[in-house]
Assembly symmetry: C2
Homo-oligomer: 243 residues x 2
């Protein structure tokens, strides 16, 4: 793990890093000493490790919750090179979505192509970050919706170090089997008028989550309209389970 | 409004009162001075103004939130006389429920019979309570699920002094039209495995609520299994909208 830069703003220190070919960012409370819970944040499709929604949450989780927060560019996103096959699927995905056609088969293709790689990368990042003195091997949370939910579901299912997860804006039937393997507390976000995820599919994916403690938070609005107060709810959810 | 008794416990003062034939309880922070937001709490079917779920929330809302909280016995409940017609419907309701038969027509009959009276009683109690010096005419919230949701929906729709409401454990199609008239922020609670309210009907009633800001909180479990952390969420919801 190699740190590239370090800046501080509003009581939060931000460090860019690379781990092998993975570019990432780590946020910690300024002058953090001692261990602390860690939240991994998975960005959405077409976004990157410092997309506005990631950055806003990372700052609040670090500044108000005292958490460490890490985000990476997942394969084919941000600073990472684009795989030709992924690019072809993504182009077709956008075209089908624009035409109002079904994208379920492409969802499955896309997730299958890079989910395994992404899970392994998150595990490597988690191991590396937990070796830092001001983080350590404490409880871990995962926050990720939309594509961050699609990659988050297999990651949370596979990784016993993750103790709680905020997931959602997802309804791909391809994820139901993996969702059923999740056992940790889950807060699952649904946008009631999501133009990209049919409501019934989103509710079915929440239903499939295997956890005894899982809460659905549904709000009116489209895929990108997650209300601001859900950020507060995520912070309190992590504080309850990782604090 | 006539006060009957006054006791204090854990920083919360509890006063029994009657307003005409309505028996009620008022909880306020001990030694409360000055005005404060008020939360009205509607109990469930077969319950009463000091049922455990009402009492636990009232104490937290007063002690932690600094709110005033009032509950009444709704018609045919608690200390109030039972109307013969209501009693007949309620008996048939329990029998049908036990037999796993449809109760929709009885729901409608029961709500129609006493909803109008209950709304008028809540309005009278609200007016009386807001005349007290340590409460005053500040913002008002309503919390009520199950039967407390069935009576709460027409009350919140009719009463402009109510600024935010926690409702739920309800899916009666008879309530959809009134729910559509609600415009204030709503937190709507659904038990995912509710044995008394079909899931699709509960989701449809949430869908019918007219408010621009409304959030569905759904949790696994049966009608009576509302998780404890939803009490925290209700408190924060009221703090955000009435605070």
């Amino acid at each position: 793990m190699r740190f590239i830069s370090k800046t501080s703003l509003g009581g939060v220190t931000e460090q860019f890093f690379t781990l092998d070919e993975i570019p990432g960012v780590l946020w910690t409370p300024e002058d953090a000493h001692g261990t602390r819970p860690l939240i991994l944040m998975g960005h959405g499709g077409g976004q990157h490790k410092k997309a506005p929604g990631i950055l806003a949450r990372a700052h609040r989780f670090a500044a108000e919750g005292g958490f460490a927060v890490a985000a990476i560019d997942v394969p084919n996103h941000g600073e990472r090179p684009t795989d030709e096959k992924f690019d072809r699927i993504a182009t077709e995905y956008r075209a089908r979505m624009a035409a109002g056609e079904d994208t379920a088969a492409l969802d499955t293709a896309m997730y299958t192509l890079v989910a395994e790689q992404t899970v392994a990368e998150w595990q490597a990042v988690l191991t590396a970050v937990q070796q830092l003195d001001h983080i350590g091997g404490g409880p871990v949370g995962y926050w990720g919706v939309s594509l961050g939910g699609a990659f988050g579901i297999p990651f949370v299912a596979a990784e016993p170090r993750v103790r709680a997860a905020v997931l959602g804006l997802q309804g791909s039937p391809a994820l139901a089997g993996t969702a059923a393997q999740i056992t940790v507390p889950v807060q699952f976000l649904v946008q009631w008028d999501d133009e990209r995820m049919p409501r019934a599919q989103s509710l079915a994916l929440f239903d499939a989550v295997g956890s005894a403690e899982k809460t659905l938070h549904a709000n009116p609005g489209k895929h990108g309209d997650l209300p601001r107060f859900e950020m507060d709810d995520s912070l309190r959810f992590f504080a309850r389970h990782l604090g």
